[in-house]
């Protein structure tokens, strides 16, 4: 029953996400895929339980139960006195620990979102003694997703390793619409993504500071195979019936149009990243966290099929967080998270983007297995975005994590 509901939500997901960052490259990535990481603005350090982060497989061996987690978010983007509100599924994740020694997980989440519509104002032009009123609307939509197969392994009482093998799949669409005297002239293309990457995680609790535990964690992302793109470019047509679909009523009609041109672009994206994090539990279940993240895209970007004709070459992120976790099996059932982060994006041939953001999160634990419902709120301000310059993004996310004794052999009475 649970699975069926999740499938329904998946069906309506990955739609409508729109922010100005989607105009760069092949779309914007979702840095905070769950309300937990949204509240803390990091993904390595404990955010689910006192010593567990669902986004760090190296910490999963500390789980006692199998957990199924899913979350959604609502995002409002404001720019140029306009706003856009969108809703999408953030992630879906299943984690199975085994004897506090190993763990396995599978997750699906959006990898990039290209949902963006950009139009310009109506202009007039003289051609052949005729006056044409025309405007242009460029629209991209869809985007690839990633499925990750992860595992964690406890090396000893202090160190643990984790790895995550991610496969990028899916497609996005790009439509250029030239509207002349109210008639749409569409040029459509579709990009199919394929690629894989490997994330390796390390976590140690060997060190202490003033007799309080320190958690150090690091992760690197390596492209196993770069993200290749198969681009299908369809011939432009006059959309006579304005249904945004090439059919027999259009000009030239679909039967007279040329077959799509298919081109393959290898090594379009090749992302390497490094994350370093330190967590200090300065009081019982109270943490202060710091994370540095760096990412670089060394892909060739030959297709350069983006609305802004540019892409993010690299980014650096610094975050400082405070977290307080609930006490298991007590009346203190609330997790609290807060953070501040700074991020810088280096844009190829365009102005760099600076981002500053705040995160807040609240989690409520219920049930003996530590089920949890989490709320996250993130507000960020970006400066230097192409044409828009300034964008304010508010993201509210909500997630639920259900634990159970799944895959655990029951005792027979």
């Amino acid at each position: 029953m649970l699975n069926r509901k999740i499938i329904i939500i998946l069906f309506f997901s990955f739609l409508f996400s729109q922010n100005a960052m989607s105009g760069y490259g092949y779309g914007s990535s979702n840095d905070h895929s769950s309300p937990m990481t949204a509240g803390l603005s990091n993904n390595l350090l404990p955010s689910f339980k006192n010593n567990v982060s669902l986004s760090n497989p190296a910490s999963w061996h500390n789980l006692f139960f199998t957990y199924l987690s899913t979350s959604v978010n609502v995002q409002e983007s404001r720019f140029d006195s306009r706003s856009s509100t969108n809703f999408d599924l953030s992630n879906f994740q299943l984690i199975v620990p085994w004897k506090q020694k190993m763990s396995f997980g599978i997750s699906v989440e959006p990898y990039l979102s290209r949902e963006l519509t950009v139009s310009d104002s109506t202009l007039s032009t003289f051609t052949n003694n005729d006056i044409f009123e025309f405007s242009r609307v460029n629209k991209s939509s869809g985007g690839p997703s990633i499925v990750k197969f992860s595992n964690g392994y406890k090396l000893n009482e202090s160190e643990s390793l984790g790895s995550s093998l991610g496969f990028v799949f899916g497609s996005s669409r790009y439509v250029k619409n030239l509207i002349i005297d109210g008639q749409s002239h569409l040029l459509q293309s579709r990009d199919f993504f394929s690629g894989s990457n490997l994330d390796i995680y390390f976590l140690t609790t060997r060190f202490k500071f003033r007799d309080r535990p320190l958690i150090l964690s690091a992760s690197i992302q390596l492209p196993l195979s770069s993200i290749d793109i198969e681009n299908e470019s369809y011939q432009a047509f006059l959309d006579e019936n304005n249904n945004n679909y090439h059919d027999s009523n259009d000009f030239p009609n679909v039967g007279q149009a040329l077959l799509p041109v298919v081109r393959n672009y290898g090594n379009e994206m090749k992302i390497n990243s490094l994350n370093l994090g330190i967590d200090y539990q300065f009081n019982s279940r109270k943490h202060v966290q710091f994370q540095f993240a760096s990412s670089k895209d060394s892909g060739e970007h030959i297709l350069n099929n983006s609305i802004f004709s540019s892409y993010i070459e690299s980014s650096e992120n610094l975050s400082l967080s405070y977290a307080k976790f609930a006490k298991p099996l007590s009346k203190d059932r609330y997790n609290f998270r807060s953070s501040i982060y700074f991020k810088n994006y280096s844009i190829k041939n365009l102005e760099n983007i600076n981002e500053v953001g705040l995160g807040l999160g609240l989690g409520v634990v219920f049930g003996v297995v530590g089920n949890q419902i989490d709320f996250g709120f993130n507000v960020s301000k970006k400066n230097g975005i192409h044409l828009v310059n300034e964008e304010m993004v508010h993201t509210f996310s909500i997630g639920i994590t259900i634990g159970d004794l799944w895959f655990v052999k029951r005792r027979e009475t």
Partner: protein, 413 residues
């Protein structure tokens, strides 16, 4: 309590409801996203070659036989071949009417018309007394190749005539022209028409006086009111009348032969169209500019605009021109005629592009953007366009057009 509130069965429908109501997509609007230059353009297609050629004359699609002299065209005569046997049961042959046991009392040859006419001219009925059968072909016999057939005039025998005075359709929409045969006229009919052993043509010739200076038509074999002949006769056996009945003979094919307007030298220089003389024209525009258009340029406007140089149209006449492409390219651009088969190439039309437009305000405007776009997409290999008079026109209407270059407007989304 908390467990019941966040019960999964409640929670997921709640998320689904949020999803449905919270999505909104607004367009990000920027001013002057792109420069309009290059998105709309135009160029001119100059005329490379043109020719006038004479195809087999056609009197159009109307199922009629024509009489009179109109618009420089003179009706010579019409030929109507009748069936060898009657349509009654049991069938009786024409020659059977000459048997000793048969007495023919009278015969009626009749034609129907939808025209009104009040003329002093007469319409005469002749019998072709050739010793050959199948003396004409309703597809290929015409004024220009009469010398390939029997001399109809010298091989005809006058049978009867009637006045074309006071002809008006009745409430059924038709008036009937009746040639009644009795006495001596009946003897001629029996001798020179029923005797198919000596005169196997069984063909009537209808001819109007030269004084008929307007167009008059009767229903032809292809109509529902085709020419017929009704014969009343008696059959004797032992000098006793054993049968007193009639037989009806129908037309099997017919044709009107006209002396069409003369083909003048000036006709060969312009675009000349006339069905009765078979004049058609071919235009060949230089489409190299189309070849150079990039894949995604859409031709949004291209009209073949031809000015009427001269015509024999009178007020309220409507003249439709059909334009199509040719199956094969043209190599001989000089005037040619079907009469001299050695010079005439095959000008079969390619019906994948076939369009008709009416001449209005002394100008013919035919949109050819679909042809040009299809040519650009490789669906047509030949650039030649053939123009001819529609079958719905009066075959005697003749028009001469001047040619212009074609203005083409395109856009590239």
């Amino acid at each position: 309590m908390i467990r019941s509130v966040f019960n999964i069965k409640i929670f997921y429908p709640f998320l689904f409801l949020i999803l449905l109501v919270s999505c909104s997509e607004e367009t990000i609007t920027y001013s002057e996203l792109e420069n309009p230059e290059g998105t709309i353009g135009n160029f001119t297609l100059p005329l490379n070659n043109n020719k006038v050629f004479q195809d087999i004359p056609s009197l159009g699609s109307s199922p009629r036989l024509y009489f009179g002299s109109v618009k420089e065209s003179q009706n010579l005569f019409s030929l109507i071949e009748m069936t060898l046997f009657s349509g009654n049961l049991p069938p009786i042959g024409l020659v059977d009417m000459l048997a000793d046991s048969v007495q023919v009392d009278s015969a009626l040859v009749f034609f129907q018309t939808t025209d009104s006419l009040n003329s002093s001219a007469n319409l005469s009925l002749f019998s072709i007394i050739s010793d050959q059968s199948d003396i004409f072909n309703n597809d290929s016999t015409n004024f220009y190749n009469l010398d390939q057939y029997v001399d109809y005039d010298s091989n005809s025998l006058f049978l009867s005539s009637l006045s074309l005075n006071d002809i008006y359709p009745d409430s059924t929409g038709f008036d009937t022209l009746q040639f009644m045969f009795k006495n001596n006229e009946l003897d001629n009919l029996m001798t020179y028409f029923f005797d198919t052993e000596n005169y196997p043509a069984r063909t009537f010739m209808l001819k109007a006086d030269e004084g008929l200076d307007e167009l008059f038509t009767i229903q032809s074999h292809d109509s529902g009111n085709s020419p017929k002949m009704k014969v009343w006769y008696k059959i004797f056996e032992n000098e006793q009348v054993v049968s007193d009945t009639f037989a009806t003979f129908f037309s099997t094919k017919d044709i009107s032969l006209f002396n069409p307007p003369a083909i003048e030298e000036n006709d060969k220089e312009l675009i000349t169209l006339n069905s009765a003389s078979g004049l058609k024209s071919i235009l060949d525009y230089d489409l190299s500019s189309i070849d150079e258009l990039s894949r995604n340029k859409i031709i949004i406007d291209a009209n073949l605009m031809l000015d009427v140089e001269s015509s024999n149209l009178v007020e309220n006449d409507q003249f439709y021109v059909i334009i199509s492409t040719l199956q094969d390219s043209v190599s001989n651009w000089n005037y040619s005629s079907f009469i001299n088969n050695e010079n005439q190439e095959n000008y079969s039309i390619n019906s994948n592009f076939l369009i008709s437009r009416k001449i209005e305000d002394s100008q013919l405007i035919i949109p050819i953007r679909s042809f040009l776009q299809a040519y650009k997409n490789g669906l047509f290999q030949n650039s030649e366009l053939v123009l001819y008079s529609s079958a719905s026109n009066s075959p005697f209407d003749k028009i001469r057009l001047n040619f212009n270059s074609i203005e083409v407007t395109y856009v590239e989304p």
